[in-house]
């Protein structure tokens, strides 16, 4: 590999045969797809197709780092996973912080590709040049925390970084997560179930190599500038929000604009929000600041509950988990939320899909469509935290009604029927994250168009959330600031969502954290271009236009993955609740999501045919994907 930033090698493991290969990272892959998400997109396009069973041996799990992983660029300590999703049956991806990603790079690998299926449970050990499979029968059935400890004991060194699945992944819960470094989740789209289907319990990695960049001086200049931006220009905004409170800071802020999901997305405002907000957590429970690798934002934190049924020390939940287990279920008891989040991590499940599927069950219960006969006697009244805790455990083990929840809201509602389908809040099978398109129009477009289903991290705009007028003006022009920063305005939002979709895809390819790209909106294409060029020595990326094209290539090929699965414009939609039921309460009262007003613009910006949502031949050719042209309409 002649480019800096990369390890230059990757690992391919075929679990069916037990063979392990160490291969060169192709230079063309690095140049055209950058890393992380880009690598996942290209590999899955080439090696998986519409006939692939997500839980079968032919599915691939790509675990990738990027050229900035393990460098001093701030918050570049993450890794990216991609596989066909067992929850949605389409494109799946998930990204996680902690320490695992950089350690993989320090061991000398850009990525790990897992294929096949083992007969017996195994875990993969990567110890610099030694790569081997180890028997995992003694950890099968253990929680992710226990597995991490036992694997480290097996290997005789607690500095091994471990990513693992819990019982939920083993039991093929469709939204099973991968948990690394004791509590960092690659949560969404069931990557843990993919590992479980392959009988791969964990990956442990330890590395002693270093990452070298192409141009030391230029790279450190970029790094210094990045620190200046984060610590000085955005210093107060970062310190007083993410550093001080973590993402729970969003609870109060998002509730204030009427966009915080309450009661299965029934409304966007909760009078009791302060009970579960960032300030309450900080004042009553927070005991320690935490951090992912190489990050100065440091949004992680730990809490302690000193008494009561949920006493214990926990990794602090994120905004999404607080909404998912809190306001969505009308639970305002923080210790119960901490406990639910801890169980999701320990048993290995996505807190968003888990909470939102339970929210579907609670609404169905309230409406009399689901009864004690279905739930095995569990009382699923709103706010019943004890039932929720019990149901979370049952879900991981697929016991009783837990076996229905384990299927995710789309399938669960199809199993139960009786009209409960209407209350399954998902897009393309993925449960809707903690935004509401009625209060924040562009977030509805994000949910409707994101490749992995109703996700926020794909393209959520925070310009409206917090009124970042200066950023809007710099990026898109003074004349558009009013519309862009108005959450209820739909004008320009199609173009905005397209732009951010590209930006975040590049962020996930380099890989740098969303909490310096998405919110707060610190780094943009020009920063990324300078960092990528200095790290790798790929001169073409000095031009920010080149990095935009690479980002578009990644996003377009990802979209083509879903097109190949049969998805078209009709699938880029939202549940009826968002399109037809006006927001009943709060600041956004009376609004619906005017999705159609934004969709045409989005497709035009994306270079797709507005009739079908399929990328046009011209777009495909422009991005170097001409061989795909004319094959899907």
């Amino acid at each position: 590999m002649r480019y800096g930033g990369y390890a230059g090698r990757y690992i391919r493991v075929d679990l069916s045969s037990g063979s392990i290969g160490v291969l060169e990272t192709p230079e063309s892959l690095a140049r055209d797809y950058v890393g992380g998400l880009g690598f996942g997109v290209r590999l899955l396009w080439d090696e998986v197709d519409e006939r692939t069973d997500p839980l079968g041996p032919d599915n691939r799990l790509v675990i990738a780092t990027g050229p900035l992983t393990g460098t001093l660029f701030p918050a570049a300590g993450r890794y990216q996973m991609a596989a066909k999703s067992p929850l949605t049956g389409i494109w799946g991806q998930s990204n996680s912080g902690g320490f695992f990603g950089p350690e993989l790079k320090f061991a000398g690998y850009d990525m790990v590709v897992i294929q096949g299926r083992s007969e017996r449970p195994v875990y993969l050990v990567i110890d610099d040049d030694e790569v081997r499979l180890a028997d995992a029968s003694h950890v099968w059935g253990k929680t992710t925390f226990e597995t991490t400890d036992i694997v480290r004991e097996d290997l005789g060194d607690e500095t091994f970084k471990v990513m693992a699945i819990g019982p939920a992944g083993e039991n093929l819960v469709r939204f099973a997560a991968v948990i690394n470094d004791a509590g960092n989740a690659g949560g969404r789209t069931g990557m843990g179930a993919v590992m479980g289907s392959k009988k791969l319990k964990a990956i442990a990695v330890r590395g002693s190599r270093g990452v070298r960049v192409a141009d030391d001086g230029a790279f450190m200049e970029v790094v210094d500038e990045a620190y200046e931006k984060l610590q000085v220009e955005w210093g107060e905004a970062v310190r007083e929000t993410l550093t001080k409170y973590g993402t729970p800071n969003l609870v109060e802020a998002i509730n204030a604009i009427g966009r915080m999901p309450v009661k299965n997305h029934w409304t966007g405002y909760w009078e009791r929000a302060d009970e579960i907000g960032g300030v309450a957590i900080r004042e009553r429970y927070r005991v320690k600041q935490g951090s992912c690798y190489g990050c100065l934002v440091q949004c992680k934190y730990y809490v302690e509950v000193r008494e009561g049924p949920f006493a214990g020390r926990y990794k602090g939940p994120e905004y999404e988990a607080i909404v998912s287990f809190g306001s969505s279920l009308l639970i305002d008891d923080l210790p119960a939320i901490f406990r639910a989040n801890h169980l999701a991590d320990a048993l290995g499940m996505d807190s968003i899909s888990l909470g939102m599927t339970i929210a579907w069950a609670m609404e169905s219960w309230e409406r009399g469509l689901l009864t004690a006969e279905d739930t095995g006697g569990l009382d699923l009244s709103w706010g019943n935290a004890d039932s929720v805790i019990e149901l979370i455990e049952k879900t991981a083990y697929r016991e009783g009604f837990g076996g229905v929840i384990a299927e995710g809201s789309r399938r669960a509602s199809q199993i139960i029927g009786r009209g409960t389908e209407k209350y399954a809040m998902h897009v393309k099978g993925l449960e809707i994250s903690a935004q509401d398109g009625r209060a924040h129009q562009s977030s509805g477009l994000t949910h409707a168009t994101a490749a992995r289903g109703a996700d926020h991290l794909t393209s959520l705009s925070c310009l409206e959330e917090r009124g970042y007028e200066r950023v809007a003006a710099e990026r898109y022009g003074e004349d558009k600031v009013r519309e862009l920063t108005d959450p209820l305005e739909t004008k320009y939002k199609g173009w905005l969502v397209k732009d951010l979709e590209d930006l975040y895809a590049m962020g996930n390819s380099l890989i740098i954290c969303w909490y310096e790209v998405g919110w707060p909106p610190v780094f943009y294409f020009d920063d990324m271009a300078r960092a990528l060029a200095a790290a790798t020595g790929m001169e073409e990326y000095r031009d920010p236009r080149a990095i935009r094209i690479a980002a578009e290539r990644i996003v377009t090929l990802r979209r083509m993955f879903n097109v190949r699965e049969g998805l078209r414009r009709k699938d880029d939609t939202l549940p009826e609740r968002f399109l037809r039921e006006p927001m009943p309460t709060g600041p956004a009262r009376g609004n619906v999501c005017r999705l159609d007003e934004m969709l045409d613009d989005y497709y035009r910006a994306r270079g797709c045919d507005p009739e079908t949502g399929v990328p046009t031949d011209e777009t495909l050719r422009r991005l170097g994907l001409g061989d795909l042209a004319g094959r899907w309409r």
């Binding site: 001093l72 270093g210 990452v211 610590q231 600041q289 190489g294 990050c295 440091q298 730990y302």
Partner: protein, 167 residues
């Protein structure tokens, strides 16, 4: 005499982000390699502790006493325990002698790695976002710690006052 400075490490402020390790290895080897860093953050997962471990530049340094070739010595002026690669024979007795794990061995360069304060501008302290590693005047070191303890009492007394319902 020039003023002496010390690297003040406060584990209670450390969050384990390891920016210090990256900055250190890059400063000395032009690569991001925590395994080659002179400062190492030890994480105790269960106790929730992150402890930066680095050479403490001892006054009566066991490594200096143990070194058979004079490759390590204490600089009077700065207080640094200095190291000379040319005089080092790689016997590693200094690593054995150090009671703190403050000295390491780098197989790639075949040399002892120990903190050299980056020649007067320690990169770990420069980058540390939490203040867990600070580059302070020697006389200030204890005062800095005292001040932080005092501030904690201030917080406690504020809580007591609030609990009593007064200001």
């Amino acid at each position: 005499m020039a003023e002496q400075r010390v690297l003040l490490v406060s584990p209670e402020l450390c969050t384990g982000c390891r920016l210090c390790e990256l900055a250190c290895s890059f400063q000395h080897f032009r690569e991001f390699a925590p395994s080659r860093s002179r400062i190492t953050v030890v994480r105790k997962e269960e106790e929730g502790l992150d402890i930066p471990v680095v050479c403490l530049q001892c006054e009566d340094a066991p490594c200096v006493a143990a070194c058979p070739t004079g490759a390590l010595w204490k600089e009077d002026e700065s207080g640094l325990v200095a190291y000379d690669f040319d005089r080092c024979i790689g016997c590693k007795v200094c690593i054995t002698a150090c009671p703190f794990g403050g000295i390491g061995w780098d197989p790639k360069s075949g040399s002892v790695i120990k903190c050299d304060w980056c020649g007067g501008d320690p990169q770990c302290a420069r980058i540390c976002p939490t203040g867990a590693i600070k580059w302070v005047r020697a006389e200030e070191a204890d005062a800095t710690k005292r001040d932080r303890v005092a501030r904690r009492f201030e917080e406690v007394s504020r809580l007591i006052t609030a609990a009593r319902g007064g200001v």
